[in-house]
């Protein structure tokens, strides 16, 4: 089933939670709504569920306008962050509840509940009350309750945020597998970019009620459209340097008080230097910086602190007055205060207009 938002706006009083949203989810797609808290992602989810009505615009499932369809008639399953299990019912009754409301026969209900419970491995807990379950178990019950209806679309609101780190990594894979097996639409709301990157087919990234971009994870990571996306996606986050663009003897340089770097010839193909302003922000990911011996076209920095991460080391350095992060091989060793040279992988740099915050990358053809 396709889910289509057409000029959807949701206001609460004077506050605009979702601002003119236009987006189209494909049939059977796993979409993540990603953004910081208060960006409108949960409001968007609750509009799909039918709990909130859009203030203007249209929400469509395939070609049917859903704006005035009640939640119960939308054939959706939803998992809440708080799990929202019914505390006075047993696990069995919780999962059976949507089926009972559909007036199914007792045998059919039992069969379906067992199926759903086994799928999420809680078959042995059916007689318990939610209060007697651990967080992870409650989360599975809420998944089973959403699945048992065989919904066309599953909505997940921060489903993993209350689980411990190890369980979260396991559930990430399990939910993704479940979605692929069932082939249904899934919409995941999260503020955790790792969750979005690992689970979703495509990510809709939102900020202040506005959609920033909607694309596959690799594209958002490799070619962020603006500063917000560049900053939000990636862990450890991208490094940013305020620079000025200057042209000297046919060559382009970026410089500020402490650095001056020559941009290679190839960057003219990637970036549109002709129409952009001169005040730019240079962005580069920690893994695209290397500590070298060479002093040619590099940054001079001082070691601030080195954090071993096991697989590699995270080196914090100071250039001028600002701190930057570099991923270094595990054998790298240095003491605080050591002077080092850092070279950039120029094929991976990002340049953003300082005022509009948009990337000055040329559009791919």
């Amino acid at each position: 089933m396709k889910v289509i938002f057409e000029n959807v706006t949701k206001k609460f009083g004077n506050f605009t939670a979702v601002d003119n949203l236009n987006v189209k989810f494909k049939d059977g797609e796993f979409v993540a709504l990603l953004g910081p808290s208060g960006c409108g992602k949960t409001t968007t989810l609750l509009m799909i569920a039918g709990i909130y009505k859009p203030s203007s615009g249209k929400i469509m499932f395939d070609d049917k306008v859903m704006n005035d369809v009640l939640p119960k008639n939308r054939n959706i399953g939803m998992c809440f962050q708080s799990y929202a299990l019914y505390p006075h019912m047993t696990v069995f009754e919780n999962i059976a509840f949507p089926l009972k409301l559909k007036k199914m026969s007792k045998d059919e209900i039992k069969k379906r509940v067992m199926q759903a419970a086994n799928k999420v491995e809680i078959g042995h807990l059916l007689d318990r009350k939610p209060g007697q379950l651990s967080g992870g178990q409650q989360q599975r019950v809420s998944l089973a309750r959403a699945l048992v209806k065989e919904p066309q679309i599953m909505l997940l609101d921060e489903p993993l945020s209350n689980l411990d780190a190890r369980l979260r990594i396991n559930m990430r894979a399990e939910i993704k597998k479940l979605q692929k097996d069932l082939g249904i639409n899934m919409v995941l709301v999260t503020h955790d970019q790792t969750e979005a990157l690992t689970m979703a087919d495509r990510i809709a990234i939102m900020n202040n009620g506005k959609l920033q971009d909607f694309d596959i994870p690799e594209e958002l990571y490799e070619n962020p459209k603006n500063l917000f996306i560049a900053n939000f996606i990636g862990n450890p986050p991208m490094n940013f340097i305020d620079v000025e663009l200057v042209e000297e003897e046919g060559k382009y340089f970026v410089k500020n008080e402490v650095i001056k770097l020559e941009l290679p010839e190839s960057s003219r193909e990637r970036f549109d230097f002709s129409s952009c302003s001169k005040q730019l922000v240079l962005g580069i990911r920690p893994e695209d910086l290397t500590i070298t011996e060479s002093k040619c076209n590099t940054l001079q920095a001082e070691i601030y602190v080195v954090e071993p991460l096991g697989r590699d080391k995270l080196v914090n350095v100071v250039i001028g007055e600002r701190k930057y992060k570099i991923i270094a091989p595990p054998k790298f060793n240095a003491d605080t205060g050591d002077k080092v040279n850092i070279s950039l992988n120029f094929a991976k740099i990002h340049l953003f207009d300082k005022t509009s915050e948009g990337s000055i990358r040329r559009n791919r053809v």
């Binding site: 709990i51 939640p71 119960k72 939803m78 809440f80 708080s82 929202a84 019914y86």
Partner: protein, 288 residues
């Protein structure tokens, strides 16, 4: 004195103090009830205070007709039943209305909601006795005078604001997520109210019910004013009539009848203490 002993004293003394204060405060109540109980089983009393010979004579109203002077009192059992009907009627009607109005005030958005909330508090603060004459006329016009139903309706009307506020507090404590989940699972509003919300509201309903029942059971002024046929009397009126003639006053009988009147209240309190403790107002509020 050793240091350890001194430390021990320092922890014990405050505890002893607490007990002393509690005993002093609760002693008058305890003595009063104890005295009531002893006198109800005693044949007269020295100076009206110190119990005398053991007797069950004072409890004779339970099994025979009571006469004081020339007045004959009818059996206490129909009167007890009347009192029960009054208290239960108030409880049931109040719960039904408060459970619906509390839900609306807690969960729905509508024009004038704040005004209604403020007005209900104002109504609650209004002294009911001031309405006595007006209510008499209203009941007369409605043909509800001298009927238990009349008293029930008056009582419900006056207590509903408080009950609604209490209920609203309990509804506020139920998370929105659970309600939303039930809508998505296929409930309409009424089904959600009945299948999801009300079961979680049991402590709240219990608390409101207890308050309503207690106040109905001990209701005097409206019953005394609006009811004048003996077959519709309640225990409060019965008790008042026992004192009716001061010259003939039988204190033993009065004590026994008073104790009889209190028994349901005491039992109710013993069994419902836990629910009563849960009463709270306001509390959590979800997004609107």
């Amino acid at each position: 004195m050793g240091l350890i002993q001194k430390d021990r004293l320092e922890t014990i003394i405050p505890r002893v103090m607490v007990y002393v204060v509690l005993v002093i405060v609760s002693l008058p109540l305890f003595i009063a009830y104890g005295w009531l109980f002893l006198n109800s089983l005693s044949d007269g009393a020295f100076g009206g205070i110190i119990p005398n010979k053991f007797t069950l004579q004072n409890w004779r109203f339970l099994w025979s007709e009571v006469r004081i002077g020339t007045t004959a009192f009818q059996s206490i059992w129909p009167i007890t039943w009347n009192t029960f009907v009054l208290a239960a009627g108030i409880t049931v009607i109040e719960i039904l209305i408060a459970a619906l109005s509390g839900f609306a005030l807690s969960r729905m958005k509508f024009a004038g909601k704040d005004l209604i909330m403020k007005l209900t508090i104002f109504l609650h603060a209004f002294p009911g006795v001031a309405l006595l004459i007006a209510l008499y006329i209203v009941l007369q016009k409605l043909n509800l005078l001298d009927k238990l139903l009349g008293v029930i309706l008056v009582k419900v009307a006056l207590e509903l604001p408080m009950a609604t506020w209490m209920m609203k507090g309990f509804f506020d404590g139920i998370p929105w997520d659970i309600e939303w989940a039930s809508y998505i699972d296929g409930c309409n509003r009424l089904q959600t109210w009945w299948k999801i919300i009300i079961p979680q509201l049991k402590p709240g309903i219990a608390a409101v019910a207890i308050f309503a029942f207690m106040s109905g059971w001990s209701e005097f002024i409206y019953a005394f004013t609006f009811i004048y046929s003996p077959e519709n009397y309640t225990l409060a009126i019965y008790l008042k009539n026992l004192i009716g003639d001061f010259k003939m006053l039988d204190y033993g009988l009065l004590c026994a009848a008073g104790l009889f009147y209190m028994i349901p209240t005491i039992l109710f309190f013993i069994f419902s203490q836990k629910s009563l403790m849960k009463v709270s107002f306001g509390g959590v509020k979800g997004p609107n």
